[in-house]
């Protein structure tokens, strides 16, 4: 675990422990260093005192050439455990007597020096002069080991370790207790910050323990919380206000939408009405033609010839027989009558035919008007719809125009379930699509104008496709064909497809356009949801 990730409390303890151990170590090291130096000095001093005492007693043995006496003197050194070897030099520097603690060890006395001391490796070497009455008669050399020093050092290190351990233990206990003074407020603050972050309760406040930096931190924290609280409240107010405003706006939008839908419905109805009127007009034209023919027929009727025959017969009423047999004019009367009756029968037949046609046309008008009334009446109400019938209604409404422009109609109807929907909306869309297709065919001026109506179903959806082989739609127009106000026709208002798409969406379906390009015809598909379970079967 990295140090920076340790908990604050552990960090503090660690720092305290580290600090105290470093301080203790330095202190101990200083003590040991001082002690070692002191010990060395003392060692040297002790050695000098001892050596000088021996040296003092060696003078006579040198002066009177008695190495044995000198060797005896040196033997006194064996009392000191540290001294490993020693020797006495005579006046000329030659070795006079030798002492060795370990007799087996090889001892090569160094060259004589009358004074000097040095620590060499693990030994202390000391040279002292041998004097008698102020005269230097020789020298003495003593080599001392530093075992005492090492032993002392080891002892010191042991004590130091114990002291260090004990101090650190006490420091640990103390620091773990004392650090609470600092860490507890911080940990409390951290805990509080965490709980505030989790519970979002900005009304909580941190408790203050003093006026130090931690106190300032607590103050700052509390102030922050207070500010957050104020802002929170302001935000909440603003949000509530916003919600209210959004609600109001939504309501307004809903109203507008409803008005728009209404308008579009009315617009669609108007369109249907226009269409109906147009068709009615067309039929009326036929009616007019029929009426004129009848009038002409009646006008052309040979009733005047009949009247002339009747007048002639009445003039010859007294001699009717003679007149019919003898008079040249009378002889022609029967033939004339036969001719007249023939003509009248023919006229009557022609008139009856025209009248029949007239009747038929009037019936068609009645039908159209009734249909229009039907859709106008049931606008906005869902009902069970037979899609094929609806498509036929749409075709019927446009029959006149389609016939007039010689558009072949191809029906590809699959068996589809009945649909629960708003009839007028679908009809509105269909009428619009049929009219558009008719226009497209008309504009293309081709001979084989064809309009295919395909009704299919699948995936719980009914699809009605109106496919023409007219002028088609360019790709750039295809993308905006459903936009409000978009139209390619001179007299178009760009409302039909837009409202059709909206209506389809409103019913949970869609209206899509597809065209391979200009001149390649177009296909519009109205897709409506038709969940099978919603269709009542009984």
């Amino acid at each position: 675990m990295k140090f920076r990730d340790l908990s604050f409390r552990r960090k503090q303890t660690l720092i305290m422990m580290l600090t105290s151990s470093v301080a203790l170590l330095i202190a101990c090291a200083a003590f040991v260093a001082y002690d070692v130096a002191t010990f060395r000095r003392e060692l040297a001093e002790d050695a000098i005192v001892l050596t000088d005492a021996i040296a003092n007693n060696c003078a006579a043995s040198i002066d009177f050439d008695d190495p044995k006496a000198a060797a005896d003197m040196l033997t006194a050194l064996s009392a000191n455990d540290n001294i490993i070897s020693a020797c006495v030099y005579s006046r000329d520097g030659s070795v006079f007597a030798v002492f060795q603690r370990d007799k087996g060890a090889r001892f090569v006395p160094p060259a004589m020096r009358t004074a000097g001391q040095e620590f060499i490796g693990e030994e202390f070497h000391l040279f002292r002069p041998v004097k008698q009455e102020g005269e230097v008669v020789g020298a003495i050399f003593v080599a001392s080991d530093l075992n005492d020093l090492w032993a002392r050092l080891v002892r010191y290190l042991g004590i130091m370790g114990l002291v260090l351990l004990a101090s650190l233990l006490i420091a640990l206990v103390l620091s773990s207790q004392l650090q609470r003074l600092v860490s507890d407020p911080i940990l409390n603050l951290a805990q509080l910050a965490r709980s505030v972050a989790q519970e979002k309760n900005y009304a909580t406040r941190a408790a203050k323990h003093g006026n130090d930096e931690l106190g300032q931190l607590v103050d700052g924290f509390n102030e922050m919380l207070a500010q957050i609280q104020v802002r929170d409240a302001a935000l909440r107010t603003a949000r509530d206000d916003l919600e209210k405003r959004v609600e109001e706006r939504s309501k307004e939008l809903e109203n507008t939408h409803r008005q728009l839908v209404d308008a579009s419905r009315r617009g669609g109805m108007a369109e249907i009405a226009t269409n109906v009127l147009h068709n009615v007009g067309n039929v009326l034209n036929s009616v007019n033609v029929s009426a004129s023919i009848i009038v002409d027929n009646v006008k052309k009727s040979r009733t005047s010839s009949l009247a002339k025959v009747v007048t002639l017969l009445r003039e010859h009423a007294h001699d009717l027989g003679a007149f019919l047999t003898d008079d040249p004019r009378g002889k022609h009367v029967p033939a004339l009558l036969a001719q007249l009756s023939e003509h009248l029968i023919a006229d009557q037949a022609a008139t009856v035919t025209e009248l029949n046609s007239l009747l038929q046309n009037v019936e068609h008008i009645k039908e159209i008007v009734a249909m229009q009334q039907d859709y106008a009446t049931f606008g906005g109400v869902k009902e069970i719809i037979n899609m094929v019938d609806l498509v036929e209604d749409g075709l019927r409404m446009n029959r006149g125009a389609l016939n007039r422009h010689g558009v072949e109609i191809v029906r590809e109807f699959e068996q589809v379930p009945s649909l629960n929907a708003e009839k007028h909306k679908i009809l509105q869309i269909l009428v619009n699509l049929l009219r558009n297709a008719k226009h497209a065919c008309q504009e293309s001026r081709r001979d084989d104008k064809r309009l295919t109506i395909r009704v299919t179903n699948g995936d719980d959806r009914i699809r009605i496709s109106v496919i023409d082989n007219g002028v088609g739609i360019s790709p750039e127009n295809l993308t905006r064909i459903f936009n409000h106000g978009f139209t390619t026709r001179k007299d178009g208002h760009g409302f039909g497809l837009h409202s059709g798409a909206l209506a389809a969406k409103e019913m949970g379906g869609s209206l899509t356009a597809q065209s391979d390009g200009t001149g390649l015809g177009a296909a519009f598909t109205l897709e409506l949801p038709c969940p099978s379970r919603e269709v009542p079967n009984e």
């Binding site: 003092n56 007693n57 043995s61 009177f64 000329d92 520097g93």
Partner: protein, 169 residues
């Protein structure tokens, strides 16, 4: 010191008299004469030799440049039968042994450190005898005689002495 060392060196290496001469010259360091033995604080220490010329020469060589406590060491030769004048150490060689009893008797109370090299020198009242022992020169001291002469012999010298007579119990 180099010259002293050199002299000492020769003494140890060569003849017996070189050693004895060195001993003679070293004695002033281990003996204390009464103050009246010296006229001045820096009066020389006089070593009188009653010996053959070559012995005197060895002593002269050993003396060269030596001084004890600021006092020079001076050599004086004594002719056979003559009496020493101002003198601190008197060496009577074996060859002059026949004179020693009379001389010693005469000088019995004088503060003179008498040094001999004969077996009965100490019995004759001499203070230090240089005896031959195991190829070495051994010191023999008669403390009674020293006490008579009011000469204090250093204990250090006594530690190296092989024989000490008249030691007070």
């Amino acid at each position: 010191m180099d010259r002293q060392t050199a002299g000492f060196h020769r003494a140890t290496v060569s003849s017996e008299y070189q050693v004895k001469a060195a001993f003679l010259v070293n004695f002033p360091k281990y003996a204390e004469w009464p103050p009246e033995a010296f006229a001045e604080t820096n009066s020389p220490i006089v070593i009188t030799v009653l010996a053959e010329t070559n012995v005197a020469e060895e002593v002269q060589k050993a003396i060269r440049g030596r001084a004890v406590n600021g006092r020079e060491i001076v050599l004086q030769r004594l002719a056979s039968g003559a009496e020493p004048g101002v003198c601190h150490i008197l060496f009577i060689s074996a060859a002059e042994q026949r004179h020693s009893p009379a001389l010693l008797a005469k000088l019995k109370n004088a503060s003179i450190l008498t040094v001999g090299e004969s077996e009965d020198f100490l019995r004759s009242g001499g203070i230090i005898n240089l005896a031959r022992q195991d190829q070495k020169i051994a010191l023999q001291v008669n403390l009674k005689a020293a006490g008579r002469a009011r000469i204090k012999i250093s204990s250090k010298l006594l530690t190296v002495a092989k024989l000490v007579e008249g030691k007070e119990e």
